[in-house]
């Protein structure tokens, strides 16, 4: 799942590189042509890179336009629709942004949806027991971070492939969730409605999102953590031989992702105070789609972008709403909507990957 295997890249540029090798210190012309060649190659790389980075934004723009056009033409209440847009994307965006720390390292966590549910349930139970908002928040974050760290430590200590570890985690958490529900001796964990409504406001959501995303952007772009994660994602061996501790980095990454899940779970409780074993069932895959939609390279590495989750999350919400308006309640509409989603998804990914092709097929 290495997006561009180092070896392949070198293969592709092998011969030209060879012929460019002997810039003997004195042979000026040669040196020049070498520089030129590399300049050319580099600027080409830059161009395609730029385009690839823009692709998700283009997608976002197209979708936004489509949304406005379709919305207005079918008399949609746009202001409400806009608010809805935020409501529906903010949780995904938060969790996915945290998850980018995991994916940047080339790791893959499929259990995020399940841990969101468990964290939300614990938070709900805690609130019902204590009636405190802050304890509930704390419980959500704590639970999520702990579950996340369990996967991380399992994988790190026994050096298991993270993905499969999280596959196991997925079903463990599922079992935990149904156990938690059983404690209430009922179908669901219910948090007091009026309490939830009181805090289920745009302000709360935007504040939580802003704070967490700011933190992530800072850590990812302005501290060592983000850099070493991209390094690991790009080439784990090199990272190790450059003195990066895989285990510690992994644990840090999963910690942050856990924090994101915790906050997401917190908002989930506020948004839907009735939690069942099926709650948050879509989140796990949706954050994946959101990230990729936003231009995240699923196998991580230098091209990881912390903003991918935001772009992708909003794009998806836009798309879903547009489709909902257009296919209002026609039989099989959901199916068509999903097929359209698939095509757009593939189109965006294809553009985002353009300019990073290799001779052999990507893996």
């Amino acid at each position: 799942m290495h997006d561009l295997n180092p070896t392949d890249v070198s293969k592709e540029t092998d011969v030209p590189v060879d012929t460019r090798n002997d810039a003997t210190a004195k042979a000026a012309d040669k040196a020049e042509s070498t520089a030129k060649a590399e300049a050319k190659a580099a600027s080409k790389a830059r161009r395609s890179k730029l385009f690839a980075d823009l692709a998700p934004l283009i997608g976002l723009a197209v979708l936004a336009i489509a949304f406005v056009v379709v919305g207005t033409s079918s008399g949609t209440n746009m202001s409400y629709a806009l608010e809805t847009l935020i409501n529906q994307s903010v949780i995904i965006v938060i969790i996915a942004t945290g998850a980018i720390f995991i994916f940047a390292m080339g790791s893959f966590d499929i259990s995020l949806g399940a841990s969101t549910l468990v964290a939300a349930m614990v938070a709900g139970l805690v609130h019902n027991a204590t009636g405190s908002l802050w304890l509930m928040l704390g419980a959500a974050v704590l639970t999520a971070v702990v579950t996340s760290l369990i996967s991380a430590t399992l994988a790190a200590v026994f050096n298991l492939p993270v993905f499969v570890t999280t596959v196991a985690m997925l079903s463990v958490l599922g079992a935990v969730a149904s156990a938690l529900v059983q404690t209430t001796g009922g179908a669901q964990i219910r948090v007091d409605r009026s309490f939830a409504r009181e805090y289920d406001t745009l302000t709360v959501k935007l504040i939580v999102a802003a704070v967490f995303i700011a933190l992530c952007v800072f850590l990812f772009n302005y501290t060592r953590l983000g850099r070493v994660e991209k390094l690991i994602g790009g080439n784990p061996i090199t990272a190790k031989l450059t003195g990066v501790s895989m285990k510690l980095t992994a644990i840090a990454a999963f910690g942050i992702a856990g924090l994101g899940v915790g906050l997401g779970a917190f908002l989930t409780v506020l948004r839907t105070p009735t939690l069942t074993v099926t709650s948050a069932s879509d989140i796990g895959m949706n954050i994946l789609v959101a990230m990729v939609f936003g231009g995240m390279v699923i196998s991580g590495g230098p091209r990881s972008r912390i903003y991918a989750a935001i772009i992708g999350g909003i794009s998806m919400a836009l798309l879903n709403q547009t489709m909902a308006i257009m296919l209002q309640g026609m039989a099989g509409g959901a199916g068509i909507a999903q097929m359209v989603r698939a095509v757009l998804f593939l189109a965006v990914v294809w553009l985002a990957a353009s300019g990073f092709r290799t001779k052999v097929l990507p893996r």
């Binding site: 295997n5 298991l160 079992a175 039989a331 068509i336 698939a342 990914v349 294809w350 990957a353 990507p362």
Partner: protein, 343 residues
């Protein structure tokens, strides 16, 4: 290679061990694994389904290609098959044939998308999953396909002989295709020597598409069996609700990879699937809730992974000595490659 004894032991220790343990547990609980007359049928049927799924997953994962769309292919192909068979008649033969062909085509298309778009296979499989789920949904408008009025279409999944036949034929076919055929040796050369093989003139794109097609056909068979054992097809499953089946294939896949070191990984997938099915019977004999079941299965998976990775550590030296199986064709299913395939 190891002696015949070692190989036999290595091959059989897991299935036999599992059976012994489960049987003992059931006995302690005063229950029997084969309480009802259908137990054997169920054993065969679930073994078949798990084995086919495991193979479908493994043949691509060996090449570092992760495929979320397995369940979607099973769903879409069986929906197509059933829909046509019910609308235009033709009975079970038609339904079976169409389902398998549809599966192969869906697989090939998935491979075509991946090789043409040249994006990460995992990502393209996400798109394909959405596409095929949506497709199946659109065919029936989201309604389940029920066979209550067409019992003849679902007799197949109730026949023990049919299920055993499926297992044998599939096993033989997959073995011939991947271990003995020209396609197979190209396929295996691409696994560990992608660039070298390509520069030696192996057609990677075509090989990949064919592999996906095989995987699709296998899942088509899965869809067929499930349709006939459930008596309905839940064509309304969307939003990735089909990916679950893939997760059931991991443990048997690792078991298969382990067994493959001693004999052949394909045989390993069968034995792995068999072990899982026996455990399944055990769950029901011990009357466990589905929560308990998923918990235990998960713990088994982790435990086995831990065993594998540490066994790798401990026996590294030993394995170097008997370098024979060091990088045998079956090896890629061991942890490293899944690490690479799905870190």
């Amino acid at each position: 290679m190891g002696s015949f004894m070692q190989r036999t032991t290595g091959t059989l220790i897991i299935p036999v061990g599992v059976f012994a343990v489960v049987w003992a547990l059931a006995a302690i609980d005063g229950a029997s694994l084969f309480s009802s007359g259908d137990s054997l049928l169920i054993l065969a049927r679930t073994t078949a389904v798990t084995m086919l799924t495991t193979m479908a997953l493994a043949i691509n994962l060996n090449s570092g290609r992760f495929d979320f769309s397995l369940g979607a292919m099973a769903l879409a192909s069986s929906t197509i098959g059933a829909h046509i068979a019910i609308t235009y008649g033709g009975g079970f033969p038609a339904m079976a044939a169409i389902t398998l062909v549809a599966g192969a085509l869906l697989g090939a298309f998935s491979g075509f998308l991946y090789t043409t778009l040249r994006i990460s296979p995992l990502v393209s499989s996400l798109g394909v999953t959405l596409l095929y789920e949506g497709f199946a949904f659109t065919i029936t408008g989201g309604a389940n396909i029920s066979f209550t009025q067409y019992p003849e279409l679902v007799s197949f999944g109730k026949s023990l002989t049919a299920m055993i036949a499926v297992i044998i034929v599939a096993l033989f076919a997959v073995y011939m295709v991947f271990d003995r055929s020209r396609f197979g040796s190209d396929y295996r050369s691409l696994i560990t020597g992608q660039s070298a093989a390509v520069s030696a003139g192996v057609k990677e794109k075509g090989n990949a598409i064919r592999t996906y097609a095989v995987s699709g056909a296998l899942m088509g068979m899965v869809g067929l069996i499930q349709a006939s054992s459930k008596g309905l097809i839940e064509a309304g499953s969307i939003n990735f609700s089909t990916i679950g089946i893939m997760f059931t294939a991991f443990l048997p896949m690792f078991v298969g990879g382990y067994i493959g070191r001693f004999s052949n990984d394909k045989l390993g997938y069968l034995l792995g699937a068999l072990s899982m099915s026996v455990i399944g019977l055990g769950y029901s004999a011990l009357r466990m809730t589905s929560a308990e079941q998923s918990l235990i299965t998960a713990l088994l998976l982790v435990a086995f992974l831990i065993f594998l990775s540490n066994e790798e550590r401990v026996t590294r030296w030993w394995r170097r000595m008997k370098a024979g199986k060091g990088a045998a064709p079956s090896e890629p299913t061991s942890l490293e490659s899944v690490g690479a395939g799905a870190r």
